[in-house]
Amino acid sequence: MNKPKEKPGTASLNSLDDITLFTDPVDLTSYRRDASSASPGKPDAVVRPQTTDAVVNILKHANKDRVPVYARGGASMYAGGVNPQAGGIVLDMAGLDRILDIDLERGIVLCQPGVRFGALLKALRPHGQTVGLVPSTAPSATVGGAVSSHALGTGSPQFQSMGDQVAGLEVVLANGDRVQTGSAAAPGTGHFQRYCIGPDLTGLFIGADGTLGVIVAVALWLHPLPAARQTTCYGFPDAKSIEKCLLDIQARELVNNIWYGGAYEAPAVKTRISQAFPDKPLDDLPSFALAIDFRGEAHHIEEDETQIAAIVKNCNGEHFPDFNEAYFNKLRTDEIYWYSYAGFFALSRCAILMSSLPTNKLSTFMTVIAKQREDYPEYPLGAAIVMCRRGLHGGVLSFYDEATQWQSANAAMKQCTDTLVKAGIVPYKSGKVSAEQVTGFSAYASLLQRLKSELDPNGILSPGDLGLVQKSPYLAETTP
């Protein structure tokens, strides 16, 4: 039987340079969780490194003592990735917040992982540049967190997902080794090409929720700031029509000037319209709205809009200017970014489950949502559908009172995830909330576990995330 090893103290962390260490219980209460409904954890210490060397030293120290380490950026993710369920150290990466280089010739910005998107966009604007993917929590979300959870949304029609915007990374492995990926793997070369030398090691760390290494620098591709922005909304009678329309737009690649595209279902449409126009009849409102935020050259937008309008018509849809006026353009002009976050209107936290689906499964996704509403009427549910270059992302947002409904809401969401998986729709941001489902993808999970064992043999990095076997770091090594 394994004998519990004494919990290694965190006091010796004190001797490390360039860190801020918190061990006071009041300080620690703020580092227990992210925006998800996953159970929080209780860290033994929070360490905020100020340099990459400090990250190296912390990991060496933790690896030696087998202390779990949970990297944390803005902690705005809804998958529980940062929740320190095995205790140990929360590594607060937000102090590594320098933009290291803006290389306009290579078209790359190199930054530390704690840089907030808001700061990045502000620094790039004077250069007439921006980045491709911006999570809707841009003011607070960090680049490192977005890469580790492959963020999506604003930018996805043009660029698919955060990962596709990464030109290369620098990562510290569990034993403290520093690794550069992409072209920067060759000493003195820097980032200019991701797919070179050999297999794409950058991809190993994208969406890995900090389980395979801690990202200490991110190279992102730059894009010129768009000359124009414009929003347009369309209404559709049913899910099949909007599905067909989205398939057509994607197939014809009319996505190059779309910054954000989202589909909204009847309850959301009704609520927004009735709030904005209390006197309007609600009976003949469309069942679905497609809202598009264009950005690009004005004449390109105009051309694309004309073509999209024709597709819409062909799919039984029509312009829906009320929705644009009441809702979508308002969010856009206020730069609220939270296009799909129903919690913004409900003034509430919600349990969120993010999934990836092929566009031709949009109506299947809506059927699952309808069933979920039927099975769990006690949790008001919102569906958020986000357009990518190819495929869609489907969010399920369930409102609950955390004081009284936390556990049961999670059980309901678990059922929803299982149903979605059975329907061929996969979890997108897995963290801890979909960890169980990840382990069900056996060949994938087994390869992931083998990589994990190689890169982090003591299992100190984010134990519990992605369903990776949670070796309890406070236990002696298991004897076979």
């Binding site: 801020t20 219980p25 209460t29 902690a75 929590t137 607070s140 730069e335 913004f344 009172d401 004081a403």
Partner: protein
């Protein structure tokens, strides 16, 4: 695990504690479109520990309500350190109230005798000397020595009663003096409360001494009730907030703006028109209920100065999310070094922005809040531009054109 019913002091905040979405905007948000560089001055200048942030106060309160055994000395250190600027509440996209939660924590800690000594000292100062700094009560109107307004009789009606507020009266007498001069120059009759004046209770309210704050406010209201006046004018931004319900005060900037518009007062510049940066007062922003930027006294300051031809912030608008200069809340007494850091950071930021916008050197920093002015002035380096209250600034750079009055 305890139940919320066992913690009535948090009973009004269950929605906040259990529905905060943890988006993290109250910790840090950088949002160019809204002119937000950072959110929490405490995290910027004191400690990056999240327990000092809005999210931190929500987490602590929730742990408390759920019966966790938290060391109350540490809860108190965190709760009373906050500068109470309100940015965390203003930025919350879903209307959560972390600052109010922190105030509830403070009140509960006070009820349990857990308030730190430096905070209790402020309470004693207000009770014993009627001002938070503990300066002798009898010195409150030293700045007005020789002024006729000081000797007014309560029975005489007057256009204006001028309440300088504790910060002006004791720490920035220049502002009180300059204000009085301008009021008199406008041709209006002015009275001072003199011996009947004292703290309005705002600093106590901010720190969670709700009962004592109410007592102070009532005493001041009782003094005012004996007077016959049209306008109650105050320099203190937090005094204006604290008296808002009982006495409907007018801020000096609001009065000045109206006086200039109505041509009760005309000003002409002494020299070339200066280039200034406005240091926003958090208290003035807190008082504004509306969501837009153009509705509070900081904005009014910008308008008044621009109207006088002064270059303000290089043309940039005032921010609703400016970082606190460190003068408010428990910050100055709990963490004097950090409080000074915050002031320096505000000054450096204003200077850097002026330089980067290439609008030439900054001639002055101006604020409508005497508490901020006194604090900034004490932290500024010799090479920094001078810091003025609005009335002082007018006094230094403009003359009153009497024939137009």
């Amino acid at each position: 695990m305890t139940t919320p019913q066992e913690h009535p002091f948090l009973a009004n905040f269950l929605k906040d504690l259990y529905h905060c979405s943890d988006c993290g905007y109250c910790v840090e948000a950088i949002w160019e479109e809204r002119n937000i560089d950072h959110v929490c001055s405490t995290l910027q200048s004191h400690s990056p520990g999240l327990a000092y942030s809005g999210q931190g106060y929500i987490s602590t309160a929730r742990a408390w309500i759920e019966g966790e055994d938290l060391p109350l000395e540490s809860v108190a250190e965190h709760a009373f350190t906050c500068a109470s600027c309100g940015n965390c509440e203003r930025i919350c996209p879903i209307g959560m109230r972390p600052m109010a939660i922190n105030r509830a924590l403070r009140s509960e800690l006070i009820a349990r005798d857990m308030a730190p000594n430096s905070i209790v000292q402020i309470q004693e100062n207000v009770i014993n000397q009627q001002n938070p700094a503990g300066k002798p009560a009898v010195d409150r109107y030293n700045w007005a020595a020789g002024q006729e307004a000081l000797n007014s009789s309560a029975a005489d009606p007057t256009d204006i009663i001028y309440l300088p507020g504790c910060a002006s009266a004791y720490s920035r007498p220049q502002e009180a003096q300059a204000t009085l001069r301008l009021l008199i120059a406008s041709g209006q009759s002015v009275q001072l409360l003199a011996d009947n004046d004292h703290c309005c209770g705002a600093p106590l309210k901010e720190l969670g001494f709700i009962t004592d704050a109410g007592t102070s406010a009532n005493q001041l209201s009782a003094s005012l009730a004996q007077r016959h006046y049209d306008i109650l004018l105050t320099s203190g931004c937090e005094c204006a907030n604290s008296l808002a319900d009982s006495a409907n005060p007018t801020s000096f900037v609001t009065w000045l703006s109206a006086a200039l518009n109505d041509k009760q007062l005309s000003l002409s510049s002494k020299n070339t028109l200066p280039h200034v940066a406005c240091i926003e007062s958090c208290q003035a922003t807190i008082s504004s209920q509306a969501q837009s930027a153009g509705d509070n006294d900081n904005h009014a300051l910008h308008q008044v100065l621009s109207g006088l031809g002064v270059t303000v912030n290089g043309g940039e608008p005032t921010s609703r999310y400016a970082l606190c200069c460190g003068a408010s809340g428990g910050m100055p007494s709990m963490q004097p070094a950090s409080s000074e850091e915050m002031a320096k950071a505000r000054i450096n930021d204003a200077v850097a922005k002026a330089n980067s916008a290439d609008h030439g050197t900054l001639d002055a920093l101006v604020s409508i809040d005497p508490r901020c002015v006194a604090h900034l002035a004490s932290a500024r380096a010799d090479s920094d531009p001078p810091v003025y209250g609005l009335a002082e600034f007018i006094d230094n750079f403009f003359t009153v054109v009497t024939e137009d009055v």
